[in-house]
């Protein structure tokens, strides 16, 4: 299987380079990009088919880089994450082909796109620090270039700036984590090899340090609170299919990294790690969705919702660690299973949501939720798929989001029931509560998004939707949506995929505890299709009845107003007002009013609300300012006077002399 992945890497890179070279000949480009997609599809089929009989593979050849060999390997964890990666690659590359319409993307666009994909695949299969970091950086860098593809706008440049800084900061943390991991092997090439990492015995203190640095480093990619700062800036900036890829799968590389590092430390799990993960998870989940609710730009909103979903994944991982550390493999099996499945699920529905958002933006020229409305009539397919993804992301049944959440719930509830010690049940109960709150708020959030964008009528008269998107884009969305439904209804098909990764994550403890997982998914797979069937039957019956009896169309009841106008509709801001008001301390939401104070206004007053991400301004920018202030303490140095400069030289000699001879 590794062989095919390598071949695919070559296809990707070759296609990227060729499109860059023959940039002008659009026909050939049109031929090459679907190639990426089709190859991804084939590889996906092969991957999924071969999963049952999968054996870990590895490959090691010399590399001219110092201390590093080309060590690549494929284990079930990597393979599992490869699945959503391939699905999204296939869908987004097809989608992206028509996304740009009449203005083609820049020369480097497809090269960056394929490098991003290739980088992610490389991250998944590399087993050597240098190779891993190079792939990691290629992934970050190519996505950075994609983010700034429209860099003439100030906001986009800023987004790219903050994104690359976060990536760089993350790299610094990762260096630290990896160096700590390899410290036992000194300067040898072993110190870079993952196989060494997993074999060694670390002291608890070092394991703690490694975990903290790895969390910070990978967290800056995964984007949980407080490291999410770049997400809401970068996702809106990138073209939508790229956002889909970035939000759907690239941020999961951070999660993958955390899982990988955890697998090195799998004999060291402690309860406080679990508490840390769960705190991070709950905070990201709740704060992320709160911020999402307050947003009025669709892609920004989706970005915050990614923060929320990463939070859910972290909750699952935390639960998994908790289970292992307290000796309850069933909890950890459910926890890790939920987390892993949520990686897949979130990739699917978030990918679809971004593709849908891209379709909306492409057809309307704006992603401002409050200006849109009534798009479902013009874009029925996009709207329906968006609805499906909205239901899925809210964790509601029939679609896939529900499955992973119920796994985490199951783990937590198992934990709640365990006697002996209050810690485990309390933490588990907190997980349940936060998941419930997150779920409810997510439903509110996506009801708002769907309701305001696709329903009612356009809230601004200048918005003139152009009908639905072209065929390839629809195809890309349908492709993802199919997986959404299949995963949601027939989750037992997926559980076997989890077996291998779970063994890795729990250090083999999950081995005898897969049965409850199967049972739960089988029960769900028995009931959910049945419910869906009834719903479909009912709906058909209802429409038949309407067809027979006819319906009387009429204006929406205006509640007594004689001249209702589209601008009187509830907007996104007004929809979320109760929530943003209530939690304004958390989301730093501000209400703004433009207009006079008179009783009978001549000009319309404009109310708007706006939530301000205080993590960026409150933590990171403040830290940067402190750093700058510290540095500026030395700015007298370059005073421009040559005489003084000579004095520095004298001082250097004298100080060195004192240092070396007197002290």
């Amino acid at each position: 299987m590794l062989k095919f992945i390598i071949i695919y890497l070559f296809i990707l890179i070759a296609a990227g380079i060729i499109t860059t070279v023959i940039h002008k000949r659009k026909k050939t480009v049109k031929f090459l990009i679907p190639l990426i997609s089709i190859a991804a599809g084939l590889l996906l089929v092969y991957t999924v088919m071969g999963f049952r009989s999968f054996q870990p593979e590895s490959l090691k050849t010399g590399w001219s880089m110092p201390l590093a060999d080309i060590e690549i390997a494929l284990d079930s964890l990597s393979l599992f994450i490869m699945v959503p990666l391939l699905i999204l690659t296939a869908a987004t590359s097809i989608y992206g082909l028509q996304y740009f319409g009449t203005t083609p993307p820049g020369r480097m666009h497809w090269l960056n796109f394929s490098l991003l994909t290739a980088g992610m695949i490389m991250v998944l299969i590399s087993r050597n620090v240098l190779l891993f970091m190079l792939s990691w950086e290629i992934m970050s860098f190519s996505s950075f270039l994609l983010v700034i593809s429209n860099a003439e706008k100030d906001s986009i440049r800023r987004a790219g700036w903050i994104y690359l800084i976060s990536a760089h900061l993350g790299t610094a943390f990762l260096f630290t984590a990896f160096f700590l991991l390899g410290k036992g092997a000194g300067y040898g090439s072993e110190s870079f090899s993952f196989s060494y990492f997993s074999a060694q015995n670390l002291s608890a203190a070092r394991a703690n340090l490694i975990l903290i640095f790895a969390l910070a480093g990978f967290g800056l990619k995964a984007g949980f609170i407080p490291f999410h700062i770049w997400l809401p800036l970068a996702h809106p900036a990138a073209p939508s299919h790229v956002s889909a890829l970035m939000s759907g799968i690239m941020i999961k590389m951070g999660i993958y990294g955390i899982l990988r590092v955890l697998s090195f430390l799998s004999d060291q799990y402690t309860t406080w790690w679990a508490v840390m993960f769960i705190t991070i998870g709950a905070a990201s989940g709740i704060i992320g969705i709160m911020f999402a609710i307050g947003q009025h730009d669709i892609k920004r909103l989706l970005a915050y919702s990614s923060v929320e979903n990463i939070g859910i994944i972290m909750l699952g991982i935390g639960l998994g660690i908790l289970g292992v550390s307290t000796g309850h493999p069933m909890i950890s099996t459910f926890g890790f299973a939920g987390a892993l499945l949520h990686i897949l699920n979130h990739a699917l529905f978030k990918g679809l949501l971004f593709l849908g958002a891209g379709a909306v933006i492409r057809q309307n020229g704006t992603g401002e939720i409050d200006t849109l409305g009534g798009l479902l009539k013009k874009m029925p397919l996009t709207g329906t798929l968006f609805l499906a993804a909205s239901i899925a992301i809210s964790g509601l049944p029939l679609f896939n989001g529900f499955i992973s959440e119920i796994f985490i719930y199951a783990g937590a509830i198992t934990g709640v029931l365990i006697d002996g010690g209050a810690v485990l049940p309390l933490i588990s109960a907190l997980i349940v509560m936060s998941l419930a709150l997150i779920g409810g708020l997510a439903a509110a959030c996506f009801a708002k998004v769907f309701g305001v964008i696709f329903q009612g009528s356009p809230r601004m008269s200048r918005i003139k939707p152009n009908g639905d998107v072209p065929a390839l884009m629809r195809g890309g969305m349908l492709f993802v949506a199919a997986f959404l439904l299949i995963t949601g209804l027939f989750s037992f098909l997926l559980v076997p995929l989890l077996e291998g990764p779970l063994l890795i994550m729990t250090a083999g403890e999950s081995a005898g505890h897969m049965a409850p997982l199967f049972e739960l998914s089988k029960s769900l797979s028995r009931i959910l299709p049945f419910i869906l069937g009834i719903i479909i039957l009912f709906t058909i019956a209802g429409s038949l009845r309407r067809r027979k009896r006819g319906i009387r169309p009429s204006e929406t009841w205006g509640c007594g107003y004689t001249r209702p106008e589209p601008s009187m509709q509830y907007t996104a801001s007004s929809f979320t007002e109760p929530i943003t008001e209530q939690f304004s301390t958390l989301t730093a939401s501000r209400r703004k009013r433009e207009g006079g104070t008179e009783l009978f206004p001549v000009k319309p007053w404009i109310f708007s609300s706006n939530s301000n991400d205080w993590f960026l301004s409150g933590i990171f920018i403040r830290l940067a300012k402190v750093l700058d202030k510290l540095l500026s303490l030395l700015r007298w140095f370059q005073c421009g006077k040559a005489g003084i400069y000579v004095l520095y030289i004298t001082a250097a000699v004298i100080i060195l002399f004192i240092w070396k001879f007197i002290i």
């Binding site: 001219s64 201390l67 950086e137 860099a151 160096f179 000579v646």
Partner: protein, 486 residues
């Protein structure tokens, strides 16, 4: 073995001829061809060195006053590459500026002569085995290059030149005292000194090394002696800046590298000399981080960036072991990317008519080729993967960490991050901010294109795949600094 003598004599002859010929030429453009021709010749000669000597032990010649070993060859290679590229670049550069400036033939004649003299002296610095000769040649580089700075004769460049001259002279003067102190024992070649190092007085040698490190460190741009550097690099004409940053700093560091094994061996491997380099290297990084965020002048920014990278090289050497190898690799990486960055900024400055970064916007649209070169070189300088600087910095921090230098590691990360933040901001603004509409009028010549493509390719290649023998070669060269193979 007569070969090395022959080659070095030929090399000297080439440059002397090169210096003399401009006296007989009238047309400025032809005068500027000479540096190019002599660089090509020097390049070919160094290729000959390589084929004849790359497997042999260090070769001493001219009574032991000169030496060719792997370390020297590596640096000669950097010198020749950068000078060759600068020679190519200057053709277009001066052709463009001739349209606007009213420089006389005298001016170009002087430039051509000084330039070649400068190159010759740098080569002698590197090939010299005699500590006195190293000093003489180094001082000569200062003298010869001073007037290269003020080719664009305005008040700021004069100021920069004055500071360069005064401060570097003082620095080199200190190095002279250090040199004399080292030679007090009666031995005056690096190779002999290394052999007899254990008989030397370790305290005296360390005392001398303080002078040497500060002295040559001044020329190399190590903090706190770097104060001349931003002025000179920013005010000089672009080819000169490129050569300053790409070669001269390395050459000064090279002499320190030569002294290092001697000092350490005399001191019984106590690491005193290394710690001096670590301190100054760290200070360089610090001062770069202090001043980069407030720059407005594009070339000044690059100059401070040189301070940073010299600091990184010094840190690498100061760490020893793998760090030395990484530092050597960093020398080449930095030279290439800085050279490219200066070339790009030179063209940009010419096109926009200003060096104020706030006024240079929309570069990618206006000058796609140079814009790409600028972007790539800046990103490489910031240490973004997959460019080769990432690899060398990675190895250096790895060495620092594994060696237990956690504080240094942390400060290194913090410093580079601070630099990264502001450099990235500048780069993005310059490259992408909405600029004046319309594409450029001037085109990029084929030679310049070649420079851009080759440098970018090498930076990228070395980031992903170091040629197998190359790293081994570097390790052997590093062995010389580590003490071993002189």
């Amino acid at each position: 073995m007569i070969l090395p003598e022959l080659i070095i004599s030929l090399n000297v002859m080439i440059f002397i001829t090169g210096v003399i010929i401009p006296l007989g030429i009238e047309k400025p453009l032809n005068m500027l061809k000479l540096p190019l021709i002599s660089s090509i010749a020097a390049m070919l000669l160094s290729a000959v060195y390589f084929f004849c000597l790359h497997n042999s032990d260090p070769v001493l010649f001219f009574g032991g006053n000169f030496i060719i070993d792997k370390l020297a060859f590596y640096h000669i290679m950097i010198v020749n590459i950068v000078f060759l590229a600068a020679g190519i670049y200057m053709q277009e550069y001066f052709a463009k500026s001739m349209e606007t400036d009213e420089h006389t033939a005298f001016h170009y004649r002087r430039f051509s002569m000084l330039w070649q003299g400068f190159q010759l002296m740098l080569i002698i610095v590197i090939l010299s085995n005699n500590i006195g000769l190293s000093w003489v040649a180094m001082e000569a580089t200062t003298i010869l290059s001073a007037f290269l700075i003020i080719s664009e004769s305005d008040s700021l460049s004069l100021e920069a030149m004055w500071k360069y001259l005064l401060i570097c002279s003082v620095g080199i003067g200190l190095a002279f005292i250090g040199t004399i102190l080292v030679a007090a024992g009666g031995i005056n070649t690096f190779s002999e000194l290394y052999i007899h190092a254990e008989e030397l007085n370790p305290k005296l040698i360390l005392f001398a090394f303080i002078f040497i490190a500060v002295g040559y460190g001044t020329k190399a741009g190590l903090s706190p002696m770097h104060s001349w550097l931003p002025d000179a690099h920013s005010q000089a004409p672009t080819p000169v800046s490129a050569v300053f940053s790409g070669v001269m700093l390395n050459a000064a560091l090279f002499i320190i590298m030569r002294y290092l094994p001697i000092v350490e061996r005399a001191g019984g491997g106590s690491g005193e000399a290394h710690s001096i380099l670590l301190l100054t290297g760290f200070l360089s990084l610090l001062f770069a981080a202090v001043f980069i965020p407030i720059q407005t002048d594009l070339k000044r920014l690059l100059a401070y960036c040189s301070v940073e990278h010299v600091g990184i090289i010094a840190i690498g050497i100061g760490l020893g072991g793998l760090g030395t190898t990484a530092a050597l690799l960093h020398c080449l990486n930095h030279s290439l990317s800085k050279m490219l960055a200066f070339f790009a900024s030179g063209s940009v400055i010419h096109e926009y008519g200003t060096r104020d970064m706030r006024k240079i916007t929309g570069l990618m649209k206006r000058m796609p080729m140079w814009g790409t070169a600028f972007m790539v070189s800046m990103l490489a300088l910031m240490g973004v993967a997959p460019f080769s600087i990432f690899i060398s910095e990675f190895l250096i921090v790895k060495t620092a960490f594994t060696g237990g230098q956690y504080l240094l590691f942390g400060l290194f990360m913090l410093g580079t991050l601070a630099i990264f933040i502001s450099m990235l901001k500048f780069t993005l603004e310059i490259a992408f901010k909405q600029g004046k509409p319309g594409k450029l009028t001037g085109r990029v010549g084929i030679a310049d294109k070649a420079i851009i493509i080759i440098s970018v390719a090498v930076l990228l290649l070395f980031g992903l795949w170091l040629p197998p023998d190359f790293f081994g070669f570097l390790e052997q060269a590093a062995q010389i600094i580590e003490g071993g193979l002189i």
